[in-house]
Symmetry: D2
Subunit: 436 residues, 4 copies
Amino acid sequence: MINKLKDEKVIKDPIHRYIHVQDTLIWSLIQTKEMQRLRRVKQLGMTNLTFPTAEHSRFTHSLGVYEIMRRILGIRENTNGWAITKDTEEYLVALSAALLHDVGHGPFSHTFEAVFDTDHEEYTKKIILDPHTEVNQILSQINADFPMKVAKVIDKSYENQVIVNLISSQIDADRMDYLLRDAYFTGVSYGTFDIERILRVMMPFGNTVVIEEKGMHAVEDHVMSRYQMYMQVYFHPVTRSAEVIVNQIFRRAKALYLKGYQFKHELFLLIPFFERTVSLADYLKLDDDVMRYHFLIWQEEEDSILRDLCSRYMNRKLFKYCDYDPDTDSVFYEKLRQLYQEVGYNPEYYIQIHSSSDLPYDLYRPGKNQRLPITIKQKDNTLMELSECSPIVKAISGKTKTDIKIFYPEDIETKATEKQMIAIKKLISAHKRSKL
Amino acid sequence: MINKLKDEKVIKDPIHRYIHVQDTLIWSLIQTKEMQRLRRVKQLGMTNLTFPTAEHSRFTHSLGVYEIMRRILGIRENTNGWAITKDTEEYLVALSAALLHDVGHGPFSHTFEAVFDTDHEEYTKKIILDPHTEVNQILSQINADFPMKVAKVIDKSYENQVIVNLISSQIDADRMDYLLRDAYFTGVSYGTFDIERILRVMMPFGNTVVIEEKGMHAVEDHVMSRYQMYMQVYFHPVTRSAEVIVNQIFRRAKALYLKGYQFKHELFLLIPFFERTVSLADYLKLDDDVMRYHFLIWQEEEDSILRDLCSRYMNRKLFKYCDYDPDTDSVFYEKLRQLYQEVGYNPEYYIQIHSSSDLPYDLYRPGKNQRLPITIKQKDNTLMELSECSPIVKAISGKTKTDIKIFYPEDIETKATEKQMIAIKKLISAHKRSKL
Amino acid sequence: MINKLKDEKVIKDPIHRYIHVQDTLIWSLIQTKEMQRLRRVKQLGMTNLTFPTAEHSRFTHSLGVYEIMRRILGIRENTNGWAITKDTEEYLVALSAALLHDVGHGPFSHTFEAVFDTDHEEYTKKIILDPHTEVNQILSQINADFPMKVAKVIDKSYENQVIVNLISSQIDADRMDYLLRDAYFTGVSYGTFDIERILRVMMPFGNTVVIEEKGMHAVEDHVMSRYQMYMQVYFHPVTRSAEVIVNQIFRRAKALYLKGYQFKHELFLLIPFFERTVSLADYLKLDDDVMRYHFLIWQEEEDSILRDLCSRYMNRKLFKYCDYDPDTDSVFYEKLRQLYQEVGYNPEYYIQIHSSSDLPYDLYRPGKNQRLPITIKQKDNTLMELSECSPIVKAISGKTKTDIKIFYPEDIETKATEKQMIAIKKLISAHKRSKL
Amino acid sequence: MINKLKDEKVIKDPIHRYIHVQDTLIWSLIQTKEMQRLRRVKQLGMTNLTFPTAEHSRFTHSLGVYEIMRRILGIRENTNGWAITKDTEEYLVALSAALLHDVGHGPFSHTFEAVFDTDHEEYTKKIILDPHTEVNQILSQINADFPMKVAKVIDKSYENQVIVNLISSQIDADRMDYLLRDAYFTGVSYGTFDIERILRVMMPFGNTVVIEEKGMHAVEDHVMSRYQMYMQVYFHPVTRSAEVIVNQIFRRAKALYLKGYQFKHELFLLIPFFERTVSLADYLKLDDDVMRYHFLIWQEEEDSILRDLCSRYMNRKLFKYCDYDPDTDSVFYEKLRQLYQEVGYNPEYYIQIHSSSDLPYDLYRPGKNQRLPITIKQKDNTLMELSECSPIVKAISGKTKTDIKIFYPEDIETKATEKQMIAIKKLISAHKRSKL
C-alpha cells in the first residue's frame, strides 16, 4: 500500500535546492490537474506590480511546504521522535496535507473571495473529498478513509494534532516556506532565518509541537523576519492600490452583469460567479490567466468605468493614496468624493478606503482564524508562550496595527478642468500636511 | 532635453539588488503599456514545466539589461572611456535600446513565430517607430530622429557600433543578464560568472568592444556558463516536449480555422494570425495569458486532437522521446507512425521529429544571425578572437551539435488494445537498445 | 595633493565583491606595516573555537569599513549631499579614518586589555600621530595637520561631526561591515540586512547623520540583526569559556614573572607588558601568532597551572559553565571553590565568575562609551530617536541584560578521587536544578 | 562498538550549513590535539596575501570532507547502494579517513616540504599509526586493526577501493569541499558547482566509483570550476611571489644554522628540521603561528638577507615578476643576476626562477601522484573516461601548461644608485617588450 518509487525523483528548487519525492502517492498527486492548475496562480497575487520579480506560483510554494514537512519528519527519524515512520499511512497523511494545503486557492485570492464570497479552504477540502477530482481518486487508492483524514488536517480537526500543528501554527511548514520563498523571489533580504536550526529544535510534546528552549532566539528571528516581510512587502501600499483596483473591477463587472449589461465578448467562465451558482468544476477552471484575459478584453468594453479600471491594472496606472483616520477625516473623505464626482469619476469606484490589519504574530493574514501560538519548552519541561520569553515578540504581539488609507486616481488631467485639478490638489495636500 | 529625475528611483531586483533609474525618459518608457505587456510574457517560455520556478518575465529581464548597460557606461566614466557621458543623447540611445531590445517578443516566442511567421525583432522596431505606440511617443520627445536611432541599434546598423556591441555581441548586456537571471530563477548553479570583473575588462577599441587580456579567464568562464545553461536548461528534452505540443496546438487550431471548423467559443484575438492580416495593435494584444486562456477553453472543443493536445499542455501530460538519426532511423520512424495511426492517433500531430541545434559560442539561439565574436586585446594591442586564445572555448566553438529526437505520447492505454501497446513498446525499446 | 591612482585598484572581498581604491593615499596606507599587522589579528578573537570558520582578520574588516565609507560618500555625490566631494582633503580624512579606525587593536583584544591595562583606541591614535610609524609618515604627506584630523575623528572630537557619525554611531560603517562580515564568516544567517537601502536613507542633517522616515524598517532590521548576533554569536558561552581561560593564562604568566619564576624559554616580547613599560614599538610587535606561540611553548613549562591552562586553550579543552546569581548563589560558589581546592585545583585560576553585559542598542560592547543614537527624520523634519518610533527597538533598548556564569573544569578525573568527583557532580547538578 | 552519540551534534559551517556528527568516534577524533592543530594551519598557505579573506584553516576543510563523505554514504542508504551501512566498521573507516586525510599537513605545506624534505602524507599515516598520538588511541578503541585500515585508505592500498576513490580520485570528497570552500572564502565566483547533483550521480561499480551518464555535464562543470580556480586563484603570481620569499627564508635560515651562525633568539622548535632529526612530536609542534613568530623575530637578526626577507613577508613587500623561457632567456637571467649582485643583492636569494605546472585534470597539485580518472557509466553499462565524452575536458586534459617566471625585488632604491636603477629597469622592460 505504501508504495515507494523505485528511484527517488527530484525537482529543482532554489529554496530547498531539490524537492525530493520518494512516495508514489506524492508523485501522482503532483501530476494531477488540480495541482497543475496552481502553476497558473501567483503566490503573491499582484505584488509583482511592486516587486516585479515576485512572479512565483502557488505550485512551487506547495512543493516547498511538502519538502519542509518531509525534512521535519526525517530529522528525528532515528529515534522515531515524531512517532511517524516512513512506512506508515500517517506519514502519507502528513505529506499529502502539506502538498495539498493550498490546492483550493483561486486567482487574486483574497480580493476574489471578498467579492464572490468563496473560501479557498472550503475548496481545498472539496477538491480532496469530491470523487470527481484526480486528487481524490489518487488519495482513495490508499484507502477509502484516506481523503477524509487529509481533509481533517486541513480544517485542523485531525486527531493527531501534531500533524495539524506542523501545517498550521505560528511556526509551520507553510510559513517557513513562504517566508523564504517570498524573500528570494522579491529579492528582499528580510525573510531569511535559520530553517535548519528551527527544524532541529521543533519537537512533539503530548499532542502539540513545541520549541526547545535553546532554539528560542532562532524562532524569535523567524517571527521578526515575518514582521519585516509584512511591513515591507505584504502590506506595501502600491500592492494595496492594485488590490483596490482589482476589487473595483470585480465589483463593476458583477454589477454590470446583474443589471443586464451586454458584454462585447462572451464571459461564460465567470457567469456562475456572478450568479452564485458555482460548481467545483467551474471553480477549477479559474486561474490568473483567465482573470487577466478578461481584464485585457474588457479594456474594449463600452462601459467607461470597467474599461478604465482594467486599463489601469493592465498598464499599471494605479491609484495614489493618503492616510485616513475614520475618527477625524470623514469630512475630508466626503469632500474628496464630491470633487471627484464633479469631475465625472464615480466615487463608488474611484475613491476607496482600504484598511490593512497588521498582526504579524497573532494572526496569519487578515480574515484568517487564530493560529496556535509558539510554545517554548523550558529545561524543566514547563511550557511558556513565546511572547512571555521574548520582549521583542511581546513588543509586536497582539497589537492590531491597522493602517487605513484612501486610494484615488491622481492622473485625472483628461477629464478635469484646471480649476478642478487645483481644488483636488489643494484638498489632498492640506490633508497630508495635517498628517505630519 | 536630457531630463534627470529629481530623485533617483529604484526597483528591487534579486540579480542586481536594485535597478537604478535616473533619467525621466527611462522612467517613462518603463511605464508604457508596451513595456508593461512584457510582465505577461515569460522569459523562458515553457521551461517552467521542467524547472518549475522558471516563471520570470521578459519585463524583469529587460530592466536587468538596462541596468547592466547603465553600469557599463558608469565604469569608465571618470576617464570618459566609453566617450558617452551621462548628459548626452548618445547615453539615452544606449539605455533605451537596452531597455527596449525585447519589447517585440510575443508569447511562446520561438514556437509562435514558427507557425505564424512573425518576427519579434521586426516588432521591436515597429513598436519603436510606429507613432501610435506609447514607446514611440515618449522617445520622440527627445527629438524626431531619436526613435530611428534606437531602432538602428536594434538592427545593428547604428553608426556607433560600440553601442551595438554592448547589446548584441557574444558578450553583451543581454546575455549577461539572462544567464544570471535564468540561473537564479531556475535554481541551477551553472549560470554564475564574475560580472563585476567582466564589466571592468570590457573596453571600447576603435568602433568595437574588446576584452583586456587580463580578463580572458573571466570571459572564458562566462562562455562556459552559457554552454552549461544550454546543455542543462535551454535544451532540456522535457521543455522541448512542451514546445512540440504547443507547436502542434498552434498548427491544429490554424488548420481547423482555415478549413471552416466552428469553434465553440469566440477566438477573435487569434483570427488575424490565422488569416495573416496582423496589425501592430493585434500583435500587442497577445501575451501568455491569452494563449493559455485559449488552451484552457479548447480543452472543451469538439475536435479531439485540439482538445487532447491542450489538455496535455495544461495538465503537463507531455510526450516521451527517443533519439533519432535521419540517416539510419527512417524505417523505425515510418513504422512508429503506422502503429500510432492504427491505434487512432494522427501521426501528423502525435509523432514529431524535433531537432535542436546547439551552438553555444558561434550562435545565439537557433535561427538567429551570427553575433560578433569576442575579441581579446593583447598587451601589445593586437587583437585575437577568443577561441584562438582559449583551448576550452575552441573545443565548443563552431561545432553544430545537433540533437534530434522523436516525440510521441506514451500514455495511450485508453485507445490502444493490449496487443497494440505491446507492439509499440517493443518497437521503441528495440530502437532505444540500438542507440546504446 | 589629492593624488588619484592612474587606474583604480580592486581587492577581492566576499562581502562587498570588490574593495575599490582610487586614492594614492589609501593604497599607500594599506601597504603600511601597521595595517599589514592586522592580517594577523582575528576579528572575533577566540570565537573560532565555537564557530570554527570565524577566522577572518581585522585587516579585511578594516578594508570593508573603508569601502562602505567610500560608497556612502559616493551615493549623494551628484547633489553633493554630504558636502564632501572626492577631490577634497575632507574626503581623505573620512576614508583614512574609516580604514584606520581599528589599527590599534592587539591580539585577543578585550581580554588582553583587561590584564595588561592597554587601550586599543589610544594605540590607534598613537599609530596615527607618532612620527615613527609608516602610517603617520604617509598621512603627513597630505599636510602636517592631516594626521591630527584623522586622530580627532577616532576620538570623536573632529569638528565635522558628520564624519564622526559615519564611523562611530549606532549605525555606522564599522557596524555595518562587521555584522555582514561576521555573519558571512561564521555562517549564521542572522547578520543580514539591506545595506544598499540603508546607505540610501542615511543623510546629513545639520552636524549629524539621520535616517529618512521611509528607511525606518530597514534600520530596525539592522538593529535586530545586531541583537541576534549578540545573542547567538558574540556572547556565546563557549567563546566566553575560552576568554576565561586566556584571561587566566595572562594572569598566571604575569604573576609568575613578577614573582621571579624562571621560564623555560625566553619571552622577551612580553616583558614590557609584564613590567608595564610598553612602548609603541613593543605594542606593534604583538599579534595573535605571538600570543599563541607562547601558549604553545608554555605547554612545556614547569608550572602546572600555566602548563595546563595553555594546553586547554591549544587543544580546546574548555571549561564548563553554569548560571550564577550573586544575590543567592554565594554559598554554592564558596563550596565549589573549596571542593576544587581539595582536589588540587587552585580556585583563583580554575573557578571563575564571568559577567556579560548585553546591551544591543545602547552600547557597542561592554566597556565602550555610549555611541550616538539613531535618529529618524520625520516627513515634517522633526527628529525622533529610533526607539521612540519602533516598539521592537524599544523592547531591547537600554536594558542591561547581564548574564553571569561560573566557569569550571569538568574533566578532573586524573586528579580527583571518585568520592571527590561525586561530591562535585552532586553540588553542580543540585545548583542547576535550582535554576530551572 | 559502533557507538552513536545520544544526540546528534552539529557544528556551524557556511559551506554545508552544518557539519553533523552522529558517531562517538568522530566526535572524539575532532577533539584530539592533532586535529585541533589544523586550526592553526591555513588551507591556502599564503594565498591570503593575494585574496585577503582566504584565511580559512585545514581544520574546517577537514570537517567539510568528513561531512561530504557522510552525505555520500547517506544518499543510497535505502537501497544500501554503497554496501556500507551506518552500523558497520567500514562506515567508520570511511568517515575517519575523510576526517583525517589532511592531519599530517604542516605550515606552508608545499614550500616547507621542499626545503625540509618532509612529506605530509607520510605524517598523516604516522599520526594514525603511532601509539603516542591521541588520534591513534581513539581509533584503537574500535579495535587493534582499525588504525591500519584507516592508514591504508590514505595511501590508497585499502582493499575496498570504493572508499579510496571517494577520498582520492579526480572527483572526491576532498576536491568537492576545497573547491566550494576556497571559492567561498576568497570570494571568487568560479568554484561553484552542483554538489547535490554530483552526489546523486556517483555510484559504486565493481571496485570503483563511476558517474552515471546523465550526470556528465554536472561533472564537466566541476572540472571546469577547478580549472578556473587553478587559473585565477591557486596559481596567482602574487601568491607565487610570497611562496618564493618563504622558500628563501627557509633556505637562508637553514644555511645560516648549518654554518654555525648565532641567532639572536632561541629557535629550538626548528632545530630538528635544520638537523634532519625530526620526530613526530617535533613535527606536531609546528603550525603557521610558530613559523610566523620566527619570521617576526628574525626581522631583528644581524644577517641582512634573513632580516630583509622576513620583513618582506611580514609587511607584504613582495617580489615582482616577469615571464621566463629557459630556451631563450638565459642571457637575460644571467645579466639580471649580475646587475643585482652589483647593487649588493645576493642573487641566490633575490633572483628566483619559479615554475608552476598547471594540470587541472590529470594531476591534483604539482608533486602529487596521478589520481584516478573520472569514469562515466553509459546507459549500456560500458565505461568511458570523462575526456573521451567531453570535448571541453579533453581540451584541458593531459596538457602540462607550465608557466615559468623570474621573481625579483623592484623596490631597491635604498641600495642602488640611480645609474644602477636605470640599468635594471631598462633590462627588464626590454625583456617584457620581447614577450609581447
